[in-house]
């Protein structure tokens, strides 16, 4: 399991941050917004394969994702914050995934759920995308076939820590890098 820390960080600072720098005003504002965002993920479940069963048990009574404030699934990408890519992504499916990612409103995060989404897993063949990070930026990788719910919860908590540290200038990140090629 891993978490990408440096994606999307800009070197030069823009707008208000250029004027005020890392003053208390902006860092406190970032902290409050980060606090709000990390406890309020609206999920977009992009479920294509058997990991979905594990996702259901996560949302169910025993593991209960709602405890962390991320229970509400929104099936419209406009209203979702966290793209849960659950399962194998074939090359046929890839343009749909990229389209859904591009349709989501900023700020948005991507959760790679299971080994197939993370690296293609044992589907090392011509039909399967070898990891969704070849298509869209990913924030948290949780491999496993399927991952245990505890692992997913750990990944979600790590994502919360990451979101809490984000700056206002990290957004927007724009569309997926491969959009033009598809």
């Amino acid at each position: 399991m891993g978490i990408t820390e440096d994606r999307g960080q800009r070197t030069e600072e823009e707008g208000l941050e250029q004027v005020l720098g890392n003053s208390v005003l902006l860092t406190k504002l970032d902290e409050i917004i980060g606090w709000g965002r990390k406890y309020s993920f609206f999920l977009y479940p992009f479920i294509t394969a058997c990991c979905g069963m594990e996702f259901m048990s996560l949302a169910g009574p025993r593991y209960d994702l709602d405890r962390f404030g991320s229970a509400l699934p929104r099936f419209s990408p406009r209203q979702a914050d966290l793209l849960m890519v659950v399962g194998t992504i074939s090359h046929k499916q890839a343009p749909i995934l990229v389209k859904v990612y591009n349709q989501m409103t900023e700020p948005k995060w991507v959760f790679s759920f299971g080994v197939c989404a993370t690296s293609g897993g044992f589907y090392d063949n011509y039909a399967t995308v070898q990891g969704i990070d070849t298509l869209i930026p990913v924030d948290v990788y949780v491999p496993g076939c399927p991952p245990r719910p505890e692992m997913v919860i750990d990944g979600l908590l790590r994502l919360q820590q990451k979101v809490a540290k984000e700056r206002w200038s990290d957004w927007p990140r724009g569309e997926a890098p491969v959009t033009k090629k598809i």
Binding site: W35, Y39, S40, D64, S76, T105, P107
Partner: protein
Amino acid sequence: MIADLIEAIAKILFVFGVNMGFFAPILGWVERKQSAVMQDRVGANRADIFGFTLIGLLHPLSDTIKLITKEDFIPAGANKLFHTLAPFISLTPAMITFAVVPFGGQYEIFGRRINLVVADLDVGILFVFAFASLATYGTVLAGWSSNNNWSFLGGLRAAAQMLSYEVAMGLSIIGIIMVYGSLKLTEIGAMQTDFFKWGIFLQPIGFILFLTCAIAENKRAPFDIPEAETEIVAGYFTEYSSMKFIMFWMGEFLEMVTISGIIVTLFLGAWHLPFISDERLLSLFGFAGPNGSIIMLMMANIATFFGKIIFMIWFQMTIRWTLPRFRYDQIMKLGWKIMLPISLINIFITGLVVLLK
């Protein structure tokens, strides 16, 4: 004159404050917690300030912060004006309707007569129906202006459903009007002093019909086909993000409060406690002097009224998390072939009883 103005502003602020400041944020939490309890889960409880989680009450706050700072999206090809207007049109009627709902009786304090309703209209019930129909426009406009097939389907479904159930809703209330002989909500409320003269005992069928139609008007499960996730993504608000999207939900919650207010006024004895009359309460509060006792009576009545509203909200939430969604044709069949004839028969029988009594 000035005193009248102050009184009116105070009442408006009270109603607005209770709706927007208390019910709108709290109901999001209530819905979450109630669904969690009914599904044997714990529910949201991790958002904290300095380590205090307050049983998850801070989650609405974090949701609000996130939604305010989220990208506000208007799709390409959408009608910008109507796309922005639609959430406001669906939120406003829910709040305005509460203006004619009395949240207490009439009291004489320091020689001044206070009537606890923002606008005491002679045609209160007609006002309620007028604004209930206006809420349809918000939904239809949202569906039409988004330039999205799913939104459009959702808007059409909402229009068909809300118009069908408005007919049965209007007819279901005529029995109550015949029994109490008034269209004024304050008068209907004032007549329900005796427990066995509450609307629910005089018009039990009217109560069930009105409650069902009101839930259908509100577009909540089991009548949520306009936003059916399994069929049309998110229905009429598919293309809405950030605060505009949550305004539809706030409108839904406030409509639920308003519906509860109307049901309490018409059927559940308004601000009266069962078996304890206002005179009895007044003598109970006699220790506080003539004016103090009336003020305490007023407080007791307001508390009774909102207690009943909270009960009705709990009841609607329980229905929402118990029943699965109806199919589209089932909803139409229920509305036109079952509710409408029953409400007509109800009017006929009520008329007969009123005539022969």
